[in-house]
């Protein structure tokens, strides 16, 4: 008994020893900047003279919560997140199902699908910006050729299409990521269930709803949470396509404008902190719901 606990103790000790470098690095690169940002959010720090920062309590947050521009950016971010992640999940699922089938050239297809994901967002966003240009963009050219429209649409300029343009670019870029995560999940599924369904002569559509989807759920939930976290802090695609335009401004773009353009480190940090809190709340709620959902599934 005593030997076992000594063994356990020494194992615990070595586990901590192995973890220590990682923890130190995490503290340095994640915890420290986060703590500093939160601290700045309670001050009136300004980039031109950081030493003169003074503690001003919750004043930054008060101002932020009464700023209509901030709420506009919150709405934009949530809209973008919900719409883009939904589309990416559905498309990704479809592509994953297709790639999971046995067909010639599957290996090449799987690699080819990843190309949009491999291109840096800045590059792909700029590429799309040119393709969506209202006068010389290839997208309008094609649509006019097909006869859908007779005058080029200013995709990124019109406030009613600008956010959709951003969503389109994001969907183009991150659907492959979703597809691959889901594909990995699909390949883990036990083949017995499918064989049984085949023997029973179940319709393929029913197989999808009754077998594939429930079994795939855990992998799907993980993929969705990855995308949600990413989408909530969207910055690059929006900034490249439409800059500081309020109609498409996300919470990250808002925080950056305050921090960098306006040099208002205190206020910008407050916005960053709220963004962090929003993501934290979103994640917690999502994970809780997912856990409740999956444990109910277990009982059933």
């Amino acid at each position: 008994m005593t030997t076992a606990s000594r063994l356990t103790r020494s194992r615990t000790r070595s586990a901590w020893m192995f973890l220590a470098p990682m923890l130190v690095v995490l503290l340095l690169v994640a915890a420290w900047p986060l703590a500093r940002t939160i601290w700045f959010s309670f001050t009136d720090a300004n980039l031109s003279d950081m030493a003169a920062a003074e503690f001003i309590g919750l004043a930054n947050f008060e101002y932020l919560l009464t700023d209509p521009d901030w709420w506009q950016s919150v709405r934009n971010t949530l809209f973008f997140t919900v719409v883009s992640v939904s589309i990416e999940t559905i498309l990704g699922l479809g592509i994953a199902l297709a790639l999971n089938m046995h067909m010639p050239g599957r290996g090449i297809l799987r690699t080819a699908v990843l190309i949009p994901w491999a291109i840096p967002t800045i590059v792909s966003a700029q590429m799309w910006a040119w393709m969506m240009n209202d006068v010389f963009g290839v997208l309008n050219e094609l649509l006019i050729l097909v006869g859908f429209i007779d005058q080029g649409i200013a995709w990124t300029a019109n406030p009613s299409t600008a956010l959709w343009a951003v969503i389109m670019v994001d969907v183009w870029k991150t659907t492959p990521f979703m597809a691959l995560l889901i594909l990995a999940g699909l390949q883990m599924l036990p083949s017995e269930c499918y064989e049984a369904a085949k023997v029973d002569g179940v319709h393929p559509v029913e197989v999808f709803w009754k077998v594939t989807l429930p079994l795939l759920m855990p992998a799907l939930l993980v993929a969705v949470i990855f995308r949600l976290l990413d989408a909530l802090r969207i910055f690059d695609a929006i900034y490249v396509l439409t800059g500081n335009n309020q109609a498409t401004m996300s919470m990250s773009v808002y925080a950056r404008q305050q921090l960098v353009d306006f040099q208002d480190v205190g206020f910008g940090s407050a916005a960053s902190t709220l963004l962090f809190l929003t993501i934290a709340i979103f994640t917690t709620v999502y994970l809780t719901l997912a856990r409740v959902g999956s444990s109910e599934g277990d009982r059933a």
Binding site: N46, S48, N133, F136, A157, N158, N244, Q246, D261, F262
Partner: protein, 420 residues
């Protein structure tokens, strides 16, 4: 004997040059052919002095360029010795730059336009030397105006009519990509310039007056923005709402626009050998508003030396070289960059290569300044509020009168009642 002495002297010069050779890095804009001109000028200095230069190219959007500078300077980085800064930045960045008033003689300083020197003087310190000046102006297609029997417009309403007429006629003739008028209306600093020109040309003031009073909520400004909004989708492509200088020039230089509002740099590029519209370009002052006057936003770029530079002496020398009459003349003749030295506007070579410099001399000397001095460190917020409001009006998200009233309130809150 004399030869030998000269040779020794030359060798001596060379060796001292080599021994003290330093590398100076300078940040240059890259709009149009700017980078090339900056590089050539800096290289010429390097060759002359035996030093080396490193060119740092920066983002095209002034807003982004400023952000980059602010990060570099706030970190106290000596990576860049000489900064090319916009006419509205001296107040924001003054803390990070050396006072040049001791390095340049009174004559050297006095040769430049006085308003720009004043603009660059913050708390008695000359933080930057003027390099080239800019004012918004109206480009027009001489061939198209002639073909359709039109004159360059004197007022904005005339511009609308002429643009509409030629656009319709050209499209009917099969040129269905033709637009009447392009300008810069992306939500960025350039829209502040365009917006200020409309407002000022209608007699609507300069957003914030010299005493800090917020003047933007007035009937003339409302009329100005209402006119501007009427162009979007009619004579201007809806895409202007996301155009900066280069996107507008893209449409213009491809021959797809009758009029363009832009800075002088677009002149020499449009007149280049490979330009489809070479020798079909005319330039006039921007039109006047109803009951207003013709105006142009004051732009232009200055050179400043970073306080964190490791070789300030050489950096100042590079600034002296680049802002000298010789170099400014070269840039004016070859690139149509407007000199900041008054005497160069009477130089024959300059006027011959860029005739508008002589003709628009008044526009350049009387350009309307953005309210950067009075609003100081808050200028960027003021500008962002103004360009966002203007963008909302142009994209028909808001009515001019409501939008400007809301803007005045926001600026009031920002300035704590006009106290800045």
């Amino acid at each position: 004997m004399l030869k030998l002495a000269m040779l020794t002297a030359a060798v001596g010069l060379l060796s001292t040059g080599a021994a003290n050779a330093v590398t100076i890095s300078i940040s240059c804009g890259a709009v149009g052919a700017e980078l090339e001109f900056c590089r050539d000028g800096a290289q010429a200095w390097a060759k002359q002095t035996g030093n080396e230069v490193e060119i740092v190219s920066t983002p095209n959007s002034a807003t982004e360029r400023l952000a980059l500078y602010q990060q570099l300077l706030a970190a106290g980085s000596g990576d860049v010795d000489v900064f090319q800064i916009d006419v509205v930045w001296p107040g924001l960045l003054a803390n990070h730059f050396l006072d040049l008033s001791g390095d340049f003689s009174a004559d050297e300083i006095g040769a430049h336009f006085k308003p720009i020197i004043e603009n660059n003087t913050i708390d008695g310190q000359l933080v930057a030397m003027p390099w080239f000046t800019d004012a918004g102006m109206l480009y027009y297609r001489t061939d198209l105006l002639e073909k359709h029997g039109a004159q360059p417009p004197k007022t904005w309403v005339e511009l609308s009519q002429t643009a509409q007429k030629i656009q319709d006629a050209e499209r009917a003739a099969g040129n269905d990509k033709m637009w009447g008028y392009v300008y810069q209306a992306k939500a960025y600093e350039g829209l502040t310039c365009n917006g200020l020109e409309w407002v000022d040309s209608f007699g609507g003031g300069q957003i914030v007056d010299a005493d800090g009073k917020i003047t933007i909520d007035n009937d003339q400004a409302v009329a100005a923005l209402a006119w501007a909004a009427s162009t979007v989708g009619t004579i201007a492509p809806e895409g202007v709402l996301n155009y900066t200088e280069e996107e507008a020039r893209g449409v213009w230089q491809a021959g797809n626009a009758v009029f363009m509002r832009n800075w002088p740099y677009a002149w020499s590029l449009g007149q280049a050998e490979d330009s489809p519209i070479k020798d079909k370009i005319g330039v006039v002052a921007l039109p006047a508003g109803e009951g207003g006057k013709s105006t142009g936003a004051l732009g232009g770029w200055q050179l400043a030396v970073s306080k964190y530079s490791e070789n300030p002496k050489e950096a100042v020398d590079l600034v002296r070289y680049l802002t000298s009459p010789t170099e400014q003349k070269r840039r004016a003749v070859e690139g149509a960059y407007n000199p900041t030295i008054a005497s160069l506007y009477k130089d024959e070579d300059v006027v011959e290569s860029a005739p508008f410099m002589g003709a628009l001399y008044e526009t350049f000397t009387n350009a309307v300044a953005r309210p950067s001095r009075v609003t100081g460190g808050k200028y960027n917020q003021v500008s962002a509020e103004f360009f966002n409001t203007t963008h909302q009006v142009l994209s028909k998200q808001a009515q001019p009168a409501d939008a400007l009233a809301a803007l005045a309130q926001k600026l009031d809150r920002l300035s704590r009642g006009g106290r800045w």
